[in-house]
């Protein structure tokens, strides 16, 4: 445990000076600021920002995570030759990467809200849920990236697989859901739809944030049902548990794979 914390600390030191991460922070900051200035009221800024966040955050976590893990492969070899156990190295690195990326994300999206004076009051809750769900996505997709980079020796395969996954979860999956809704529109499809939405962490996150915004009232009967379920205590508990599970599974699989791996 102590060793994992040491590795984590140095990872953060290394990463916060990385040009990629700084660039990503500046980009997010600029995007949020622009949405604020041209998007009108802050509620709409949150909605637009949500779309940006749910598209960009998984992609950046996946791609940067995979590339970062591959690029530290030789250093991992040196670390593994030190008196440290593999679990400490893997978890320390993953936690360090996640922490650095989380920090960048929180600053990039949260700072403009604070600067414009929405840190308190009505919007605080909405921004907070966006940040919390965004952080959950950072953790989940960083873990997936590390898993892919551990499993695949070949960088092209590793990077290709995470990009495919991202494309599937952020575009193909929703398309399939819409098709299904269209095909079954004569049937009561709402309950299965709610379950299917849960199977995609990006969609689940989006619903959780959407329900905090006023526009969910515009979503009709389905929206009302979603609100009834996800707005309830049980719904919140179930969706939080699902998000935790989505993080736990790739972390566990990646760790297992790393412990058995030959370097």
């Amino acid at each position: 445990m102590g060793q994992a914390v040491k590795i984590l600390t140095y990872e953060i030191h290394n990463l916060v000076r990385s040009r990629w991460l700084i660039g990503m922070g500046v980009l997010l900051l600029a995007a949020t600021e622009v949405l604020f200035r041209f998007g009108g009221d802050p509620s709409r800024a949150v909605t637009s920002l949500m779309n940006v966040v749910f598209l960009i955050v998984p992609l950046v976590s996946l791609v940067l995570g995979t590339v970062y893990f591959y690029s530290s492969r030789e250093f991992n070899e040196l670390l593994l030759a030190q008196p440290v156990n593999r679990t400490a190295i893997y978890l320390g690195k993953l936690a360090g990467f996640t922490a650095a990326l989380s920090l960048v994300f929180a600053l990039g999206t949260g700072l403009p809200f604070l600067l414009h004076g929405y840190g308190l009051g009505d919007y605080a809750g909405k921004v907070a849920i966006l940040l919390v769900v965004g952080e959950a996505l950072v953790i989940i997709f960083s873990a997936v990236a590390f898993l892919a980079a551990t499993r695949y020796e070949d960088r092209v395969k590793g990077l290709g697989s995470v990009i495919l996954l991202w494309f599937f979860l952020s575009a193909v999956y929703d398309g399939l859901l819409l098709l299904a809704v269209h095909a079954f529109h004569r049937y009561p499809y709402e309950t299965p739809l709610m379950a299917l939405v849960m199977l995609n962490p990006i969609d689940l996150g989006r619903i959780l944030v959407l329900l905090q915004l006023d526009i969910s009232a515009l979503m009709g009967f389905t929206g009302a049902l979603f609100r009834k379920f996800y707005g309830s205590g049980v719904g919140t508990a179930v969706s939080s548990a699902m998000l935790v599970l989505y993080a736990a599974i790739p972390i566990a699989l990646g760790l297992l794979s790393f412990r058995r791996k030959d370097f």
Partner: protein, 256 residues
């Protein structure tokens, strides 16, 4: 396994897919010797070293360090200083931060005694302590790599092609350092393609071929068996004799 062996390897095998990298290797490395592992590319030298370090998990067989099996263990690596063939460090850390990290990792472990900063000083690493690791040249990284291996004054040093990529002056410093280890009762296991270097430093040679120790003995043994004075020629002779031999089997010439 004898009592004064640092490393005892028994029947070690490892395959990567269909390639048999190690094929039933048994070896012993005695305390206070400099042992050189030679052999062509892909003969299993690196895999052997990585099995000792626990970087590669063998399919069969066991590795013992100072009498204790290393399988599933990690604390024993506090007894080893390792210099990989080439090293890439975290780009945005400074040289000083890297050394701090490595010291930090070993801080609470028993058996980590006084630091040996000789190479750190002689390679002039203090002067570049605040530089980012990402901007350093390959040669400088190799010097850091070497300084790390010796830093904790470990009883066993494992050096994978230690002088490759070093400038002549640094290479001489490193060779002197390796010879000092033996004088201090420490053990060195190194790989090299430079026969001259091996002749200068090693007292024991293991020649790997197709995943097995083809020859395992002292340099004098090798010279005597092959009746060749130059190590390079002796090795060539050894391989030729083996090729023309009827059995075609790899033999442990130490016992012949």
């Amino acid at each position: 396994m004898r009592e004064n062996d640092v490393i005892g390897i028994e029947n070690l095998s490892k395959s990567f897919g269909s390639v048999r990298a190690l094929d039933g290797v048994s070896l012993a490395v005695r305390t206070g010797t400099v042992t050189a592992v030679l052999g062509p590319n892909a003969s299993g030298k690196s895999t052997l070293i990585k099995c000792i370090l626990g970087l590669v998990n063998p399919d069969e067989g066991e590795v013992h360090l100072e009498g204790a099996p290393v399988k599933g263990e990690w604390r024993y690596r506090a007894r080893i200083g390792y210099m990989p063939q080439s090293a890439k460090f975290p780009e945005n850390l400074t040289v000083d931060e890297l050394f701090a990290l490595l010291k930090d990792i070993r801080k609470d472990l028993p058996g980590s005694g006084a630091l040996d900063t000789e190479l750190h000083e002689r390679f002039g690493l203090s002067a570049i302590g605040r530089r980012r690791l990402g901007v350093l040249s390959g040669g400088t990284r190799q010097r850091i790599n070497a300084a790390i291996a010796f830093l904790f004054a470990p009883p066993l040093l494992i050096l994978d092609e230690p002088t490759v990529g070093l400038d002549p002056l640094s290479a001489v410093i490193l060779r002197d350092k390796i010879r000092d280890q033996r004088a201090g009762g420490r053990t060195v296991l190194l790989t090299s393609h430079l026969v001259g270097e091996v002749e200068e430093m090693a007292d024991h040679v293991v020649y790997m071929l197709e995943g097995r120790p083809f020859f395992d003995g002292s340099i004098e043994d090798l010279r005597r068996i092959t009746a060749e004075r130059k190590l390079e020629r002796a090795i060539v002779r050894l391989m030729e004799e083996n090729r023309s031999g009827a059995s075609g089997q790899n033999t442990d010439l130490r016992n012949s």
